[in-house]
């Protein structure tokens, strides 16, 4: 399988006044296309920082991050935004839906930013995804009218509507009850299996971890291990 993300010798140091806080220290790893990876570690271990660097919303202090064959250090802010729009989908811990848009419009939003698709094609994709996440009948509702689990499903649909090769999810089940959380992970796993989309999600919940095909453990800003999860083959 091709390497979709390559992290080489990456360090990230945050400056808090005069104090330097190293969030990541010399991290190197490769993610292959179609994998369903969990990044696990306690709070403050650097999971979110690593996801941010892979997701091109932050840049490393040292080292390189290559996503989809592009070194993020060499890209302008505009190019990074474009990369996110076309190559990466995001699922946030707190759902992060646009409150003034309906479910349908929230899912459609990335397609409108991309442009180039006819309205009928956009409709087809959005309807398909809403059906896939089981929210077809809620397409005209506003996020405030949905439950937490429903909102996260909308977020999943939004993340996948542009058919990105890579989806990043930062603690996607943290604000959900265990059953709902499990359902969301199952949904993501189905998408991974069906479309071959690479998923990287952070969590500190062992139950959630158990769904992944592999778990990258991280502690104190360093990768301390990578282990396959038996019975959960990733991708095609």
């Amino acid at each position: 399988m091709a390497v979709i993300v390559s992290v080489v010798g990456v360090s990230k140091i945050y400056q808090l006044g005069k104090t330097e806080v190293p969030a990541l220290r010399d991290v190197s790893l490769d993610i292959h296309s179609g994998e369903f990876i969990s990044i696990a570690g306690p709070s403050g271990s650097g999971k979110t920082t690593l996801l941010n660097l892979i997701g091109c919303v932050d840049v490393p202090t040292a080292g390189s991050v290559v996503v989809g064959g592009k070194d993020t250090r060499a890209l302008s802010e505009r190019a990074l935004t474009n990369l996110r729009l076309h190559q990466i989908g995001f699922i946030f811990q707190t759902f992060n839906l646009v409150s003034v848009l309906s479910v349908y419009q929230n899912v459609e939003f990335p397609l409108l930013l991309q442009g180039g698709l006819s309205s009928s094609e956009r409709r087809r994709r959005v309807d398909a995804l809403l059906g896939a996440v089981g929210l077809a009948q809620h397409s005209h509702h506003r996020p405030s009218e949905l439950s937490g689990g429903q909102r996260q499903r909308v977020a999943v649909a939004r993340a996948l509507v542009t058919r990105p090769p890579l989806v990043l999810a930062d603690e996607p089940t943290a604000n959900l009850d265990s059953q709902t959380g499990a359902n969301i992970i199952d949904l993501m796993r189905d998408m991974n299996r069906r479309d071959g989309t690479t998923f990287i999600f952070s969590t500190h919940d062992p139950k959630v971890m158990s769904h992944a095909s592999a778990v990258i453990r991280i502690a104190d800003g360093q990768v301390v291990g990578r282990e396959a999860v038996s019975g959960n083959g990733g991708g095609h």
């Binding site: 979110t48 996801l51 941010n52 997701g55 919303v57 932050d58 802010e77 505009r78 935004t81 474009n82 996110r84 729009l85 076309h86 989908g89 995001f90 946030f92 811990q93 707190t94 992060n96 839906l97 646009v98 409150s99 003034v100 848009l101 419009q105 459609e108 939003f109 990335p110 409108l112 930013l113 991309q114 939004r158 542009t162 930062d170 603690e171 943290a174």
Partner: protein, 724 residues
């Protein structure tokens, strides 16, 4: 773009309170801009029309070496000191060569004094006239015990009435004067003069004086004229402001001048047109003037005196006028001879439904007005009493004497006929601009002290009569005192008949005065003399600025050094009012929009900070910075333009409503001038509306810029941060 607009509009609805607060500020600002601009523009155009149409024309020219700048309505220190332009015809020829100049009107604006005359003098003059007619100018001697007019029945009736009137006036004067004299501190006045005055007064009111009047009418008249008339407290001199001009040319150039009574001054003749407002304020019976002012205040300004039984306080100025009317009945009573006094008594008894026989008490009762009876009393005054009175001290057809100090300090005077009364459109009630009288230019030149052709001819005639011979300085002693001096005449001793001399002098003066009044001057004579300034009427007023340059060049070529002034500059401080009003409006609009900008900016910054996560998410999923910037700008500009348009529309509606309801009334004469009429009827124009919307648009953009730029700095990282 569609999703951007959708997000923007929905965000506006989501924060309705903020949207309406911000929108309300924008709406109010736009409304104020539209209404304010409309009012100022209307004042500007109204004043321009009034001033240009009455006195300034499109441009004014005057000598560039004058000490003061031209101020058509006077400056703070009085009339401006302008150098004379000696030959108007030269100026006229030079300026009319400029293509855009349609006409050039000569002017000389100044102040003078008008002899108001008092009632006592007028009554004495009538009585003297009767006696002169009856005694053939004094040639026939009076017969003791017989009226001098007994032989002329048609004059006898008038003589008796005038004599009775004079006796009545003396009686009324005596009452007032005795009171006045009694409160004078004897230590501060010449005691003997006081004693003489008391003695004269006592003699004048005794029946014996009037019984012996017929025996020596001229002696009695002389006594009254020399000893009693000076004690009369009315009359004196009034200031009069005038523009000396070619009246025919002036009337053609200034359509704003309306003749409301009488006719214009005949072409080429001397004469004056008095300002109607001047006549109302200064020449009208004071009581009538006060009644008119009370009526105007009640009917137009909706003020009230105090009605009986009501507790509300009325207007103090109206109350003061009512009080003055009640206590100042003398100027009415002095006008009545016994016949007219009886008729006035009868009329007032009937109108007021009373049996009171004392005329003074009847007049006081008539003038005791309140809000309930004012209209009725006003009508009675004008219907019943005014026909028996002389309402104005000067009428059309009267000759008046105007005096003014010349530049060299001597007093010049002219006798001039009143041909009519005028007013200026839009300035009817303005004491600043509506009081200017229009006088022929020859009379102006006499008053100004410049040697006119008439004066030169008069001096030549005097020299001839006196056989004056020019003597050189070198030969002066020999000529004056030498033995070979030519005897030109011999003085003869004899008595001087003063009466004959005075009569002859009066006769000569009268005939020369009459000759002047009827003389017709040619256009060459009118143009060929001095002026102080000139009004220029242009064919195309829009080209005033460039024409002013051409005028100065043409004048220079003719050897004249002139300054030009547009209507605003020429109107001096009054003309600056419009500029001042614009500055005040600009400052007010600036302050309001500055405050609006700050408030909108703060509101949008707070809104942006509340939407950090949402904006970060949009950035994370692939929205560029430009998308965020445009989204914020669209939100603010939508609020700005929507509420700005609403404010503009409301402002336009308010202006229209004010116009339909008759405009904003002028509560005093200063505002009457600035409103160019009794009320300001504002008008709208597209430029004013466009300005308002443009300001709103610019302010919206400016107030959104900082929060929008702030929003573009929100990174996708913000979306990743949890709320923990």
């Amino acid at each position: 773009m569609g999703i951007l607009l959708l997000i923007s509009f929905r965000n506006l609805f989501a924060s309705r309170a903020k949207t309406f607060i911000v929108g309300g500020i924008v709406l109010f600002s736009a409304l104020l801009t539209v209404v304010g601009t409309s009012i100022v523009d209307t004042i500007d155009s109204g004043m321009r029309r009034s001033i240009q149409g009455s006195l300034s024309g499109h441009l004014q020219v005057y000598d560039a070496h004058s000490r003061d700048d031209l101020a058509l309505y006077g400056g703070m220190m009085g009339e401006n000191d302008l150098n004379p332009i000696r030959d108007f015809s030269k100026l006229k020829a030079a300026l009319q060569s400029v293509p855009n100049v349609e006409s050039v009107v000569p002017m000389g604006i100044d102040q003078a004094m008008l002899g108001a005359g008092n009632l006592f003098d007028q009554a004495l003059e009538k009585l003297r006239g009767d006696v002169r007619r009856c005694t053939n100018g004094g040639a026939a001697r009076a017969v003791p015990g017989r009226s001098p007019c007994a032989a002329l029945p048609e004059v006898e009736k008038e003589y008796q009435a005038h004599k009775a009137h004079m006796q009545r006036m003396v009686g009324l004067l005596a009452k007032d004067l005795r009171q006045a004299l009694s409160i004078i501190d004897p230590g501060t006045h010449n005691a003997s003069e006081l004693a003489r005055n008391r003695e004269a007064l006592t003699r004048a009111i005794e029946p014996a004086f009037w019984a012996s009047f017929d025996a020596d009418p001229f002696g009695a008249l002389e006594f009254l004229e020399n000893r009693i008339a000076p004690l009369s407290l009315d009359g004196g001199f009034l200031y009069i402001r005038y523009v000396g001009t070619d009246v025919a040319a002036y009337q053609k150039a200034f359509p704003g001048m309306e003749i409301v009574e009488g006719t214009t001054v005949p072409q080429g003749q001397r004469g004056i047109l008095l300002a109607k407002l001047y006549a109302e304020d200064w020449l009208k019976l004071r009581t009538a003037r006060r009644l008119d002012k009370i009526k105007y205040a009640r009917d137009v300004l909706e003020k009230r005196i105090v009605a009986k039984g009501r507790l509300a306080r009325g207007d103090e100025e109206l109350q003061r006028w009512v009080k003055e009317n009640q206590t100042s009945t003398r100027d009415i009573l002095l006008q009545f001879d016994p016949i007219r006094a009886a008729e006035a008594t009868r009329r007032l008894q009937r109108a007021l439904g009373t049996g009171e026989a004392d005329l003074q008490k009847l007049v006081v009762e008539l003038l005791t007005t309140d809000d309930d009876n004012f209209d009725q009393r006003y009508r009675i005054f004008y219907d019943e009493l005014v026909p028996l009175l002389q309402l104005y001290t000067v009428k059309v057809g009267d000759s008046i004497t105007i005096q003014a100090p010349s530049r060299s300090g001597y007093m010049n005077s002219v006798s001039i006929k009143v041909y009519g009364f005028i007013q200026f459109k839009g300035l009817e009630k303005s004491s600043s601009a509506g009081m200017t009288c229009v006088m022929d230019i020859m009379s102006f030149r006499d008053l100004y002290g410049f040697m006119t052709n008439d004066k030169q001819a008069e001096i030549r005639a005097l020299k001839q009569t006196a056989n004056v011979k020019a003597v050189s300085r070198e030969n002066a002693e020999a000529e004056l005192f030498g033995g070979d001096a030519e005897i030109t005449g011999t003085a003869q001793s004899g008595n001087i008949d003063e009466g004959k001399l005075i009569q002859a002098a009066r006769g000569n003066a009268t005939s020369s005065r009459e000759a002047l009044l009827s003389r017709v001057y040619s256009q060459q004579e009118i143009d060929g003399g001095v002026v102080k300034n000139a009004a220029i009427i242009l064919r195309d007023p829009r080209r005033a600025a460039e024409t002013a340059v051409e005028i100065q060049a043409a004048a220079k070529r003719a050897g004249l050094d002139l300054k030009t002034a547009d209507w605003q500059k020429a109107a001096g401080m009054l003309g600056m009012f419009v500029t001042l009003a614009r500055v005040v409006l600009f400052i007010a609009v600036f302050i309001i929009f500055a405050v609006a900008l700050v408030i909108i900016n703060n509101a949008m910054v707070m809104a942006t900070l509340q939407r950090v996560k949402e904006i970060g998410t949009m950035r994370a999923v692939g929205a560029q910075r430009r998308f965020i910037l445009v989204m914020l700008l669209v939100e603010t500009v939508t609020v700005g333009l929507t509420f700005g348009a609403a404010g503009t529309a409301l402002g336009a509606g308010l202006v229209r409503l004010i116009a339909v309801r008759g405009g904003i009334p002028a509560p005093n004469e200063q505002l009457y001038f600035f409103f160019s009429g009794p009320s300001l009827v504002p008008h709208l124009d597209a430029a004013g509306l466009a300005i308002s919307l443009s300001i709103v648009f610019v302010v919206s953009i400016l107030s959104a810029l900082y929060p929008a730029l702030l929003a573009t700095r929100i990174t996708p990282l913000a979306a990743m941060q949890s709320d923990e």
